[in-house]
Symmetry: C2
Subunit: 401 residues, 2 copies
């Protein structure tokens, strides 16, 4: 697929993350108007509530809401219809009288009201590396890992939009004679892609991988901040809890499945066949470069197609017990790590649990310091265009003792 | 405290679970009217939306909503004001012209829109017994267990009201040569009390145990249905996931903290001192008999005051990382078990992992069979009155292969 040219000239520039091929959805406000839904195009935001008010498209008034849940609930046929209509309006011969807002003049908000949040653990490199650090090499990869996408329920209330500061948590840390109460000393990031669920499933019913794919509205960048010392002390046997509740940052732009369609990519070879309910009829991953910077320095770059399970497989597994899913559910892919240290999505892995510091702008780092800023990035590259996700950043504030 | 007599005579009967001392809140509908909030009194429901419509009390219109979240969000001063007003209206010399509905003519609904659901693990007997079965006696009680109330995030979408059938889940079960896909063979209940959070806390801020207690609106019976074979295969290292997502049943009536106030009770002796952020200035447990029946036969009876951590301590710990809490959050106490087999809150414990069947109406049982009905019960006993919770039941439907 080639670049689809737009009359919004900034969308046609070679390295623009938001060409007409992309059209990610978000929620924005301006000095004079409350949060509403928009689509990114070049360096502008198309005011979708404004478009609907002008009679240019029909989304049942949902674009005037301060999150995309209402629009998502209208279903895939409506998603497709609106995408086709926006592509028409913004094409070179489109409508030049659209309500556009300069992105520089807008404030971006959380694009969805996150109903529930689940975090998976689907990069084999990451699972193995972290397993070695927490449990030793012989128990590194749990026995069920190659048979199911394991995950845990995270805390939806702690999901925040890119740019929100993240406070270093206090917590119980393991001491010599018992736990001590102290600021987290091993604060980390996790480089992930989040899938946004755009449809409900009923309690007691299972969803196939194909149906699951149809339920996914789109993807966001996701940083699952982690307090590794709190995690080590608390996580057995019930899994991570407060170590993962200090904040999870997502990007402000939801890149739709439609925009990523040309980038479908197979994943790594399977160690063993999957049970039928997890088998895919076509690749569910994407060829998508993804990485992160610390205080502006690129720390790691890898590809989303290293993952062992796709979001559709994760969603299908999520319903295997009959668990009902709802519009606005967010599924974290799990930390995305390639095999090499400069492909890892967490400092825990990159520094081998803090044993091998890395250098950031000349300073040694094992874990995150106060004032550090982490930014995630991702990009799919087509012929003459890119699909970007916008920033996903957070800066560390000192703990409140 | 003695019985407070009501002009609703059925509320004054000796074994009535809903005397005027109780006044639990719920949501009900009738043949001719949609779900709205009510309070149980004797064998009647006081229509609180109707009371407000008649100008008898003021709750900002929240009682006309189909869940109690709006009322809870009004805050503790309003909770106290409304409770005092209802006590006045229903007293012997009260208002005999109130909108009452016979409980037998009403359908009860989920009383809250559950925002997020967290399940704890706070009975030392249960944690030890289950730990032996899953990990052996030497690793039974995790090392942090006596220092913090451990828990995991459950799945709010799977919380249903008493009486909702529960479908036996399919799942991955560990086999000889790899997992197999089969109906759960070790389906279990968990006897718990759920605390309903009635106030928000801000991200990045911690809540003390005293503040946490003030945030708790009330308590419900809670059965956290569990697929033990799915759990055993999936739960390491991230904790239980699909094994706990098949359904969680809560009672339809929220018993307020105010009603339980006379029953405050200290818990078991502490193994070690707690860190200051978990210390209580007064007992946070209640002297509350709690138990369960299987197909009508009483299987176990114990007391909520065997728990090692109170809901207020759990809520305080939940915010230790700065995790924001919201109105409608539900905190499961963890399975409530006394030391003896006929005091255990799960079949896993009662049958020693299925090794020692129990007899139910003359039939042997290790785990739950299709058609089985589990009912939880709880009661605090005052002088001449009882505080009941109403039923919390569920019947097992066969799996959908």
């Amino acid at each position: 697929m080639a670049l689809i040219r737009s009359w919004v000239e900034s969308a046609n520039v070679a390295d623009c993350p938001f060409p007409l091929n992309n059209l990610p959805y978000g929620v924005f406000s301006t000095a004079d108007e409350a949060p509403r839904c928009g689509a990114a195009i070049g360096d502008m935001i198309l005011d979708l509530a404004g478009c609907e008010a002008q009679g240019l498209l029909d989304a049942g008034g949902t674009f005037a809401q301060p999150q995309l849940n209402g629009f998502m609930a209208l279903g895939r046929a409506k998603w497709n219809e609106v995408r086709a209509r926006l592509t028409e309006l913004l094409a070179e011969d489109g409508n030049r009288d659209l309500p556009l807002v300069r992105m520089a003049d807008a404030t971006l908000h959380l694009p969805v009201r996150v109903t529930e949040y689940t975090d998976f653990y689907a990069s084999k490199n990451h699972a193995f590396n972290v397993g070695v650090l927490f449990r030793g090499p012989e128990n590194a990869l749990p026995p069920q890992w190659t048979h199911m996408p394991i995950g845990y329920n995270g805390r939806a209330s702690s999901v925040v939009v890119s740019g929100t500061p993240i406070r270093r948590p206090m917590g119980q840390l393991k001491g010599e004679t018992g736990p001590r109460w102290a600021p987290c000393e091993r604060l980390d990031l996790e480089l992930e892609l989040g899938a946004v669920v755009g449809a409900d499933s009923a309690m007691g019913e299972r969803v196939s991988v194909e149906e699951a794919e149809d339920m996914i509205f789109g993807y966001v960048l996701l940083n699952d901040w982690s307090a590794r010392d709190v995690q080590a002390w608390e996580y057995q046997p019930l899994g991570p809890f407060q170590s993962k509740a200090l904040g999870t940052t997502i990007g402000a732009w939801i890149v739709t499945q439609a925009a990523l369609e040309p980038f479908r990519s197979p994943g790594p070879e399977r160690v063993n066949p999957l049970l039928p309910y997890l088998q895919e009829s076509r690749p569910g991953l994407y060829d998508l470069e993804i990485g992160w910077t610390l205080n502006g320095q690129v720390m790691a770059r890898t590809n989303y197609n290293v993952m062992y399970y796709s979001s559709a497989q994760q969603l299908a597994h999520h319903t295997s017990s009959g668990c009902p899913m709802r519009v606005g559910d967010l599924l974290g892919s799990g930390t995305i790590s390639g095999p090499a240290p400069d492909q890892t999505g967490a400092l825990l892995e990159m520094t081998e649990g803090g044993k091998t510091p890395v250098t950031v702008n000349g300073e040694a780092r094992t874990f995150l310091e106060n004032g550090d800023e982490v930014a995630l990035f991702a990009e799919a590259r087509g012929e003459g265009y890119r699909i970007g996700f916008g920033p996903c950043t957070g800066r560390i504030l000192p703990a409140r003792p």
